[in-house]
Assembly symmetry: C2
């Protein structure tokens, strides 16, 4: 297996971007990544996208993007794993370079979510749950994550203030990220007094509906210096795992088994452990998700994630800075792009390009992306070369 | 890059299967493939599926299938490339084994198309075309392929009888395939007197709407003998390419550039040429597609594909038997499964298991799968070990 490096990143500001289409969002970020890397061609490309069909009436998204990027006849494959589509696309691109099939591979993610009504978007997102046992009976994702929050509160004493602390931290980070959709700072009081969506989750506990794209250029690590304009970031570990798609089928409602498994695979492959991770982007689709994931990745003892974020341990300057980009909460959550956007932030952190939100001296970082209520999870560990 | 072999295949009869759900279709064929290979576990899995969202209100199809197959926590990734989703999934599984990341990989394809109305199915399929320039203006796939037929007739003198000959041959083959959706034999007169869908394509020039699934087990070629119950089939060549998604953007309307390119890559990788292919499954979504593809794969001179099929050169016993399974036309076209189903047929042919429709002595075979009007194409060349 060849070693693989990320040598270019591209991303535009997330938001409700009515003037940009699905194809614009992908192409703009891809062109930025190609320019950032300084490569003059690509050999193959991937597109992470959750539901082009339901959000934009468009499937066949790989070929579409190859066409609009002016890159035909390169192979172009779309990968879907709900909100982990971007992470799964990164893994697919990693495997293509690792195998020796291609040298320069573009991995992008995209979602255009605001051209449909709120009800239609909620329906489209609910297709990440078990259609026959969850969505069909009317439950949507805020409800599912609310149950996760209640279970964690019941078992470990996690509080609404702890949940709110995730949002407060991520908005503080996002306020320093020019790409963030909602860069305003908020307080714990703001969160607790915001509209209740699904008890105990207020609207400020939830990530937004977002249009956005993000892209990466991958190449064999031993060609990074020759090909790239900037320092390469080597992918040390790549783990992916699945769990029951229905949340009610899990043995334990307060842990995400696929996250534990995917992280275990990535740690093993990389030879690194949780203590060696210096900056991490996690999938905070709801505030409770970040708390549980921060435990399941091994950063905190089970049940202590809430106290950790409230105590500032995951802030920039803390024990393990989490979601320096603002996370899904503040930066935005264009579902198919999110896993790729996480890698964009970590690459920038490891290259020391994050300005006000830079984690000083960070050389090893991690991304954790998941789909549904954690039925898919993808974890990557990276180190600057 | 490690050599990769297919060591198990699974598939059930295609049809309008109201008693089977999306998940049933995948799981049944996957269990058959696992049983056929004789393996006791899998390390990773792929699902080719075009539009779970529009056909079944279900995305996140990788995790769904891992769950219902009882295979969590293995990594499970859905791949989409319109009607080439199955071929693209096979390529992804191939790369995972070739890279060394996993040893035993399940590659399945599935589509559940008959739970929606005909109009909804037509809309879902049209999302494989350019939504903004083709589908939005009302054109659907029979119309696009009808234009392709008219262009080929105009340039090369291809006739309606030649088109009909594709359907006649494929139904003759399908009549010998117990898995075929429409196994009845038909005549040229039947085709020409059937309802006109989009001039010059009659309904018997068109592949049907189908529920179905198909699956393969892949492993490193050097482990095939140890792992498998039957002879392994080595993947010698794997080529994929893209073209403009909109048909009107092509320079030449009578050739499919992505097919030419993908075949070129697969021939180069395999060290084989068109003359060494002994049996081939091609993407006959419409009769004209088989004629053009048979030329673009190098089996016949450009413009001679129609005469070749009319003259019996692509029948079993002819120069190059094409679509011995019955093809999409007679066997059925569950879009996301088709590329995998093609490989199921070729593996069975190369293992000598095809009974009445066996191509005698076949050792080298090919699959050609495409999406849209050929904006994606995937070609695999295989040889029995």
């Amino acid at each position: 297996m060849r070693d693989v490096a990320i040598i270019g990143v591209g991303m535009k500001k997330c938001g409700e971007l009515w003037e940009k289409s699905l194809r614009d969002l992908y192409v703009e970020s891809a062109l930025d990544a190609i320019d950032d890397a300084g490569v003059d061609h690509i050999d193959s490309m991937y597109v992470g996208c959750m539901s082009g069909g339901l959000f934009a009436g468009q499937e066949h998204i790989g070929a579409l993007m190859a066409d609009y990027l002016g890159q035909t006849p390169v192979p172009a494959t779309r990968v879907e794993s709900a909100c982990a589509s971007g992470g799964a696309a990164l893994r697919a691109g990693f495997l293509e370079v690792a195998s020796g099939m291609s040298d320069i591979v573009l991995v992008g993610g995209v979602e255009k979510m605001t051209d449909v009504s709120g009800d239609e978007a909620t329906y489209a997102l609910a297709t990440a749950s078990d259609q026959e046992w969850e969505a069909f009976n009317g439950i949507t994702f805020p409800g599912l994550y609310a149950m996760m929050a209640v279970a964690h509160m019941h078992k470990y004493g996690t509080t609404s203030e702890m949940l709110a602390s995730v949002a407060v931290k991520n908005h503080a980070n996002g306020s320093k990220n020019p790409l963030a959709q909602f860069p305003m700072k908020i307080t714990v009081e703001d969160v607790l007094s915001s509209v209740m969506v699904a008890d105990p989750l207020h609207i400020l506990d939830c990530s937004p509906i977002t249009d956005g794209g993000a892209a990466l250029i991958l190449c064999p690590a031993d060609q990074a210096k020759k090909l790239a304009k900037k320092a390469g970031v080597k992918i040390l570990g790549c783990g992916m795992a699945s769990d029951t798609i229905a949340y009610h089928s899990r043995g334990d409602l307060t842990t995400l088994g696929a996250v534990v498994k995917a992280a275990g695979l990535a740690y093993k492959m990389s030879g690194k452990g949780p203590k060696e991770i210096q900056v991490c982007e996690v999938h905070d689709c709801f505030t409770i998700a970040e708390i549980i994931v921060s435990e399941d990745l091994g950063f905190f003892e089970k049940g202590k994630g809430g106290a950790a974020v409230k105590g500032g341990e995951t802030a920039i300057g803390g024990k393990i800075p989490i979601n320096t980009s603002g996370g899904l909460k503040s930066k935005g959550h264009p579902v198919g792009a999110t896993g790729v956007a996480q890698a964009v932030e970590i690459v920038k952190q490891l290259r020391g390009e994050c300005g006000d939100r830079q984690v000083k001296g960070a050389r090893v970082g991690m991304t954790q992306n998941m789909g549904g209520t954690g039925a898919s999870a993808v974890v990557h560990i990276m180190e600057v070369m």
